[in-house]
Symmetry: C2
Subunit: 375 residues, 2 copies
Amino acid sequence: MSSHHAPSSPGTLSYEQAGVNYDLIDPLKVSAQRAAAATAGHLAGHGFTEVAASRGESAYVVDVGPFYIASIVECLGSKALVADEMAALTGRSWYAGIAQDTIAMAVNDLITVGATPLVVQAYWAAGGSDWFGDATRAQALVAGWKAACDTCGVAWGGGETPALAGIVEGGRIDLAASCTGLVNPKQRLSVGDRLAAGDAIVLLDSSGIHANGLSLARKLVERLPQGYLTEIAPGLSYGEALLAPTVLYSPVTEALWAAGIVPHYNANITGHGWRKLLRHPGTFTYRIHTVPPVPPVLRFIQQQAQQDDQEAYSTLNMGAGFALFVAPGDAERTVAIAQGLGIGARVAGTVEAGPKQLLIEPLGLRFGDDALQLR
Amino acid sequence: MSSHHAPSSPGTLSYEQAGVNYDLIDPLKVSAQRAAAATAGHLAGHGFTEVAASRGESAYVVDVGPFYIASIVECLGSKALVADEMAALTGRSWYAGIAQDTIAMAVNDLITVGATPLVVQAYWAAGGSDWFGDATRAQALVAGWKAACDTCGVAWGGGETPALAGIVEGGRIDLAASCTGLVNPKQRLSVGDRLAAGDAIVLLDSSGIHANGLSLARKLVERLPQGYLTEIAPGLSYGEALLAPTVLYSPVTEALWAAGIVPHYNANITGHGWRKLLRHPGTFTYRIHTVPPVPPVLRFIQQQAQQDDQEAYSTLNMGAGFALFVAPGDAERTVAIAQGLGIGARVAGTVEAGPKQLLIEPLGLRFGDDALQLR
């Protein structure tokens, strides 16, 4: 990410300055992706094939005959560090929400390919056995994990709870979730071939920062005299706002299918902000005419980090957690279905023939073809 | 584990003394298992059902109609710390083997239910971006991961490579693998209903400590003046011996199926040593008449930790990495198939009607019904 845009002014805090250096990680990712791609042929030995278009998408898909199997593993990231700080400041446990965040990282990616999430596995690697000795925190993690599974209609299959002193920091926990699902029936597969000029872009609201951009958000705390307890709205602290759990979007994609709506493409808006709208490999212009309201915590981060809109929308979700690209005739019904599930939604724009770019017209922003290099 | 047996003498180093306190972890595990079991009903909403007998087994299995889907996530544990120490001492990278270990933790568990592993996802959470900047080490991890996928005939679907400063220790990496597979055709399902008195117990050789018992092995280094460079056999250091990669057993289970042999039950011999032979929920006596040779590194650990055989076989694999319970008429052919793949194997004993116990007759050992409480 660091190579894609420079901070806009000397006082600006960029994601790179917050401690993540993608120049070091990217060569490994490229070589891992190349090695991974070279293993696809093994599936033929079992009578199956990969869906090649799923390489580079958010979940990996295999054609096993009667349906497709999708699988994924996803990391929470550093949001648990905020929960730990807030627990020390408030005496409450925030791990029920953290559990939902972790599952959301996996489920919201898995559904982009059209999969129904079926089984979630828990990966809870603590810095020592004593992490699990805080029964209130541990029970919050269990209860939140269960509740998120209930919301998504997935079975919690099991998992790992290792104590990894010397690898995970003392008092900390490394959280991840793996998820397996089915694309069933197979016409639900969504890996981009259906996207067309004229499609509508429906954006589903986020609840706040979700679980991306936390390195930046944590770095900002150093600039705040009251730290996480800084009020960003009446009665709402920065820490509490950051810890709003990530929205689980699979009830929406399941309800759309039940209503006969098959999205032409989906994008989970995570670490690259609105640039994720450029994820599809094709050449289209994405013209946004309506932007969702910006959650107070994201507006606060933007202001504190002295980011202009170009930078903020390229890193943070700015109120849009998930994008559904649907046939124009399905757009309003898609919005209604999401809203019926309590998730804010709006028809935000259209897909057009034209050069690959994202135009956020209400803000006068443009992101070009080179803004997102994920593959 | 700590509650199940006490160290045999004051000089003995037990697993508990090596820093893992299961008394703190177990209450969480029990409550997580209970919550997880309560989510199984969600599968009915998708037209599927769980294989209830797989709860408590090594992988979770769902009946999706034409076949079963099995899934799992598994952690490497602390073996990477040995690789880091040995890299400092020898200037070599040991991460190709570490990659194989990580995949083995997932694959060797997944195959116990009769599944063919299809897709592996990588979870590589480093203490900072700089971990990936050591190109030699990073490339060894990639190459080893690819090679293990090739051995197992699985597709490497993708994964996560987060930099988790503040959660994972600087300079360290938390490695895990998730794996999804199919039980196909469905008669390959192995969750214990076939096990019967008269069955033969075939043990497949381990390559050494595999990836369990490393906390104990690392603790012992403090007692060794030459540390990891201590010679445990001519030209073989303690560190190098510990880092022998875990054997990947899926080629054996696949070859057995191709030969028309369906094991009645399988046990991956990991953290609870030979007590894993008691894993099946039924009431049988497991009588061992032949034990495999003990790898030098495990004999060395036993001696240095001053463990008697009872303690060593209850914690370490002592040369047996995987147990296949097969019809007596299939036993010799099972051995021949494994040996044909370069994996040492032997008919080690029989399953008998009788009280639940494991009798290792050549060593005069007995483990009773209370020796293993995993569920």
